[in-house]
Each structure stands twice: as structure tokens, then as C-alpha cells.
Subunit: 82 residues, 2 copies
């Protein structure tokens, strides 16, 4: 089953990449773009029961997939078994 | 209102970054990781009515935010007005 992880820069942290994209959007005529923030999106195909592996997945999100000093992560478990 | 864009590598395209993360996960004892694919996640704060700006947003997704040769994008519009 497929688990999704979204890693985003914390609200209080500057996101220069997002600012650059906002500038580019405005340059291309999309002046309605007020703010852009860019993060990472991971799809992890997990063998067996993902719910049982949630604690280990959270540990990996914290230690490997994000930098907790400047980033937040969101772990989305699948709702139904596949 | 907030619009979300998720850019992922196409199914048929190799994702070396994802493969490296899968290897690292297995190295850290999470052997249930079968496949990892990594993409980008963007949150765009749009002024005014986002629905009216959807065509322009799609154009930007195609031209600026993704590389259509190797990537797919998914544009998620807000359901309710904020």
C-alpha cells in the first residue's frame, strides 16, 4: 500500500525557492500569486500492513526525510487496504 | 485561497533520488519499503477567486512548474472559498 509524505518548510522559515517561483509567475503575467512555498512529496510503496509500520515510518520521516529544524512533515496513511 | 500543486516523475521514468531514499530506508532497518518516488509539492496563495484563474494556473503548471517530458502534475483547487 502507498504511503504519502509531504515535507514543507516551516511557516517561520524563509523559502527562497518559493519566492523565486512567485517572481517568475508574476513575470509571466500571473499577478494573483501572493505567496509560494515549495516542499517535497514522497510516495512510499510499503509491503504488508502500513498501519503496523506507522511508528517506524514516523521515525524515518523525522530522521531521514525531513530536517526538523526548518521543515515540517505530514504522513498520510492509506485509508483502505489494497 | 490556497492552491496545491504536486509534481511527480512519470511512472515510466527512473527516479534515482527515490531509489537512493529507498536504499537508505532499508539500510536503517525499514525493509518493507518496496518503492519510493519523490516529487515536488507547491502551495500557492492566490488572491481572489482561484476557480477563475484555473486555466492560467494549469498553463503555469505545464510551462513553469513541471517538465512535461518526464513529470506529471496534479493541480488541487480549494473546495470551499476562504
Amino acid at each position: 500500500m502507498k504511503v504519502k509524505v509531504i515535507v514543507t518548510p516551516k511557516e517561520t522559515v524563509l523559502d527562497p525557492q518559493g519566492a523565486a517561483v512567485r517572481e517568475a509567475m508574476q513575470h509571466l503575467g500571473f499577478t494573483a500569486a501572493r505567496d509560494v512555498r515549495i516542499g517535497r512529496y514522497l510516495e512510499i510503496e510499503v509491503e504488508g500492513d502500513a498501519a503496523a509500520q506507522e511508528p517506524k515510518l514516523r521515525e524515518l520521516c523525522h530522521d531521514l526525510l525531513s530536517n526538523p529544524v526548518i521543515e515540517d512533515y505530514r504522513l498520510e496513511m492509506p485509508n483502505e487496504k489494497s
